[in-house]
């Protein structure tokens, strides 16, 4: 597992989490009703890991995030999020190139230049006001663009919803970040842990509301993740929906 860079926590923590998740998955008799979802053949294991993640969130991550939320005003947290997003642009740029999207790549580059300079190292986002919009191309999407299927739904310990394709993407993107190569692993891990805590802190209310509202929170998250990723790979449009999508759509909107 690529322990460097973006969204990769400390390796020892990951190892610990893996063991804990394996144990949890082993002992919990995940009760699965009805037909298994075809996109989630590993549901039993995933539910175990999901339960572990929920526990970790409830007892450790959310309390810390709430503390951050108390200390830092939301605008500051949003500025921090912008800073991190800006620092990820080189990775997005690389992936835009790998997907043969020159316009996206140029826009990313221009955004990076504008926001790093005028936007004070990325804490502000003047580029959006110049009409340069944010893109998000990661290596998971690049693989999708090349025709690699996502594979079964996969919940990673602590990192959350993913798929085999997106896990490979995560590792590749982490490796293509430049700064972690110049600092020790503890520094780069702390930076990514702080980033995740900051993001979590901005979503406290949304996640609490969603948890409370969902009839089956695991399924709600799975559905959201799978559709969100598919949509990103298709560049957030369905204009070129192929015939398979049309069939799906009929299934979704016409039931008789």
């Amino acid at each position: 597992m690529g322990a460097r860079g973006d969204s990769a926590p400390r390796p020892r923590l990951v190892a610990l989490a893996l063991i804990a998740a394996a144990l949890t998955a082993g002992v919990s008799c995940a009760h699965i009703d009805g037909d298994p979802d075809p996109s989630d053949p590993w549901e039993r294991m995933n539910r175990g890991t999901f339960r572990f993640n929920e526990g970790a969130d409830r007892w450790v991550i959310e309390p810390i995030a709430k503390g951050m939320d108390f200390v830092l005003p939301d605008p500051v947290e949003r500025a921090i999020r912008k800073f991190y997003e800006n620092s990820m642009i080189p990775v997005h740029f690389l992936n835009a190139i790998l997907q043969f999207k020159p316009v996206t790549a140029i826009e990313d580059l221009a955004r990076f230049v504008v926001n790093t300079t005028i936007g004070v190292a990325g804490f502000f986002d003047p580029a959006t006001h110049f009409g340069l919009e944010a893109h998000h191309e990661d290596f998971g999407q690049t693989l999708g663009y090349w025709g690699v299927p996502p594979g079964p739904y996969l919940v990673l310990p602590l990192l959350g919803p993913s798929s085999p394709r997106d896990t490979v993407g995560l590792v590749a993107d982490s490796a293509s970040l430049v700064y972690p190569w110049f600092v020790t692993i503890y520094v780069s891990s702390s930076i990514s842990v702080f980033r995740q805590l900051n993001r979590r802190s901005l979503a406290i209310d949304e996640i609490a509301a969603e948890r409370q509202a969902a009839l089956d929170y695991y399924v709600a998250v799975r559905n959201a993740y799978l559709n969100y990723r598919e949509n990103l790979v298709n560049d957030r449009t369905v204009d070129e929906a192929d015939e398979a999508d049309e069939a799906d759509e009929d299934d979704l909107y016409y039931i008789d």
């Binding site: 699965i32 009703d33 009805g34 037909d35 979802d37 939301d74 605008p75 949003r78 500025a79 020159p102 316009v103 140029i106 826009e107 221009a110 504008v114 005028i118 936007g119 502000f124 986002d125 003047p126 580029a127 959006t128 006001h129 110049f130 009409g131 340069l132 919009e133 944010a134 901005l202 209310d205 949304e206 509301a209 409370q212 509202a213 969902a214 009839l215 089956d216 399924v219 709600a220 799975r222 559905n223 959201a224 559709n227 969100y228 598919e230 949509n231 990103l232 298709n234 957030r236 369905v238 204009d239 049309e246 759509e249 009929d250 299934d251 979704l252 909107y253 016409y254 039931i255």
Partner: protein, 225 residues
């Protein structure tokens, strides 16, 4: 209206932009050059698209007006939003689509109860979150007519916390009126999300279990207020 309340980030950005006209002009040139690459094909909207679009434009205006009027107590604003949404959403079609094939397993009485409970469930789920959406604008960025007559209105959120998010509304015409039957946020369809959640409940415990769970949630949602 918006400027008065926008918290520092956006206004600071705007000020920064004003200080450097040269950079802004350079960026504008860059954008102009690039938009030459990706000129969208322009075509006239069909009659259906225009009809559905008008519904969304009007609804968005009404909703934003309610969200921004902080002089009215939250409870009353939630009530106004409910009235707007109930008029514009076809909650019957929506709840039916959510059940999909399981709809037929419900008796007439169960169907009636389910539609009522689902409506309350949606209201409780979204009503409590309204305080966070007052700083945004909604732009309609496209319309699309589906093969079987539904129309999708594509919108984008500008400003506020969800800057840049894409939200699609799917509308269906019934009795000469366009009503929303699904909301798709960044590819995540409300109908599909609830359908996945409800499916396993109905297949394990039948219609009664789903009704029971919805009632449970609704009762809990009420006590939290």
């Amino acid at each position: 209206m918006r400027r008065t309340r926008t918290i520092s980030i956006t206004s600071t950005d705007r000020r920064t932009g004003g200080v450097l006209p040269l950079a802004r002009r350079a960026a504008a040139v860059l954008v102009a050059v690039m938009s030459g690459f990706a000129a969208p094909s322009v075509r006239a909207a069909t009659e259906s698209e225009a009809g559905a679009r008008a519904v969304i434009a009007e609804t968005v205006d009404q909703v934003l007006a309610v969200l921004r009027d902080k002089s009215i107590p939250t409870e009353d604003r939630i009530h106004s939003l409910e009235q707007i949404v109930y008029g514009r959403f076809d909650l019957y079609v929506m709840s039916r689509l959510v059940l999909a094939r399981n709809w037929k397993r419900f008796s007439e009485e169960q169907k009636k109860q389910y539609v009522e409970e689902f409506k309350r469930y949606l209201t409780n789920s979204y009503g409590s979150r309204i305080e966070r959406y007052d700083q945004q604008e909604v732009n309609i960025i496209g319309t699309r007519e589906e093969p079987r007559g539904d129309v999708v209105i594509q919108t984008k959120i500008v400003g506020g916390e969800f800057e840049g998010a894409l939200v699609d509304y799917r509308l269906r015409k019934q009795d000469s009126e366009w009503r929303v039957i699904d909301v798709v946020i960044e590819g995540i369809s409300m109908v599909s999300n609830y359908r996945d959640q409800f499916k396993s409940i109905v297949s394990s415990g039948g219609p009664e279990l789903l009704l029971e769970k919805l009632r449970e949630k609704n009762a809990a949602g009420m006590s939290i207020e």
